[in-house]
C-alpha cells in the first residue's frame, strides 16, 4: 500500500495504447509512484462521468484517463 501522504491516483487506461505504454514502462524498469492504480479498459470510450465521480467518492485524490 502507498503511504498516507502520497496522493492516490486512479488511472483508467486503454488496453491498446496507455496500458501498453505502462507495460513498456514496467519492462523498461522505469519507476512510477506507487499511489497510482491502473484500471485497464478495452477502450476509454467505456468511461462515463459516473465512474469519475465514484472514484472521488471512494477516496481517489486524482484521476487520469488515458487512451
Amino acid at each position: 500500500m502507498a503511504s498516507d501522504d502520497q496522493p492516490q491516483i486512479l488511472a483508467f487506461v486503454c488496453n491498446w495504447c496507455a496500458y501498453a505504454g505502462a507495460d513498456l514502462a514496467g519492462v523498461s524498469r522505469i519507476q512510477y509512484p506507487t499511489g497510482v492504480r491502473l484500471i485497464r479498459l478495452m477502450c476509454t470510450g467505456r468511461v462515463n462521468h459516473g465512474f469519475l465521480l465514484k472514484a472521488f467518492l471512494k477516496g481517489a485524490d486524482g484521476l487520469l484517463v488515458s487512451g
Binding site: 462515463n48 462521468h49 459516473g50 465512474f51 465521480l53 465514484k54 472521488f56 467518492l57
Partner: protein
Amino acid sequence: MDPLKHLTQKQIDYCMECGLCTGSCPVSRELSNFSPRQMIKQVLLDLESDLMNGREIWACLSCAACSERCPVEIDFPEFISARRQQARDAGNVPQESHHGVLQTIAGLQTREVNQQRTYWAREAGVFADTGDVFYFVGCLPFFDVTFRYLNLSPLDTARSVLTLLNKMGVEPVISDHERCCGHDALWCGDHSTFRRLAELNLEVIRSSGAKTVVFSCPEGYVTFKKYYPQHVGELPFEVLHMTEFLSRELPNAGVSFQSSSNRTVTYHDPCRLGRLAGVYDPPRQLLESLPDTVLVEMERNRQYALCCGTSAWMECSSCSKAIQVERIEEAGQTGAQTLITACPKCQIHLSCARSAMDSDIEIIDLYAYLAMRLTTE
C-alpha cells in the same frame, strides 16, 4: 426494536387484503409481478426474505397512490422505506439511473467539499448570507449540468424564484454550504448518508439565523417537514413550500402579472407535494391569480394524480416511460397548451418522455411560468 419498524409491523396487521393498493398502483399496471398487496402479505406470512431479495422492493415509486385509498390507512411508502435499508444492508441494491452520478454527488456532499452553489444567483438577483428567510435551492445546480441533453435548464426555476422573491422585497439567504436534502438517499435505503446530510443542512441553516426556510422543490420540502423530525428531531425553524409562501405573500406584495398567449394550462401534482405533504391548493391559487389564465384539470388530479414514473434516480424502465407517456397524453386531452409542473424531477421525467412523443404540449416549471408572466416595466 426499531420503533418505526414496530409501528409499520403493527399497522400492516390491519390489512384486509382488499387489493385496492394493487388496483391503484401505476407500477402494477405495467409490471404484472409487482403487487403492494402481495408484498404486505409476504411480510405478514414471515416470507420477508423474498421481499428483501427481490427487485420489487426497488420498483415502488413511493407515490402513495395506494395508501391514499387504503381503507385501513397503511402507509405503504413508509413500509417500503423501512425495508429498503435492510435490503441494502443485505446487499440488494437499486439500479441507479444516469450512471449513479446523482447518488454519488449526494455521497460527496457528506464530506468537507467546496461547492459553488450560488454562482447563478449572483447574476439572477440579490441574496444574503444571513437573514430571516432561507431559500433552500436543493439539487438544481447539479441537475442543470446533468440534464443539458434534454435542452432543460433546471436552474431557471431557482432564477425565477429569486426574481419573484426580490420583486416582493425579500432578499433570501442562499448558501454555498447547503447540502442535498437526502431525499434520494432515504428512498434508496441509505439512511447513514441521509442522516449525515440532514445534520450538515441543519448546521448551515442554524448559522444563517433563518426563522423560515422556503423550498421550491417538493422533495426537499417533504423531507424537511416529515422526515427530518423523524430522524434528527424537531426543527428550530418554520418549513414552507414556495407555493404556500407565494400564495400567502404575493397578493399583498404589489407584484402584477400580464396576460400571455399560452393561457390554457393544466397542473401536474407532484406526489411529494400532493399526497405526501397535502399541498394541493396554493399552486392552483397562484395559477388562477394570473390574468386571463384558464386552469383545466386532468382527469386524475389532486390526490388521484398520476406519478411522473420514477423516483430517487433509480430503476428507470419501460414501466416509467409507459407511465410518463400516459400522463402526457392525459394532459394533452385537456386541450391545454401548457403543462405546469412544480417539481424539477417531474419536469425532467416528463420532458424526457415527451422528447420521444408526438405531442405539442409545452412543459414549463411553475416558477418559470410565473416569472415569465411578470409585468415588464
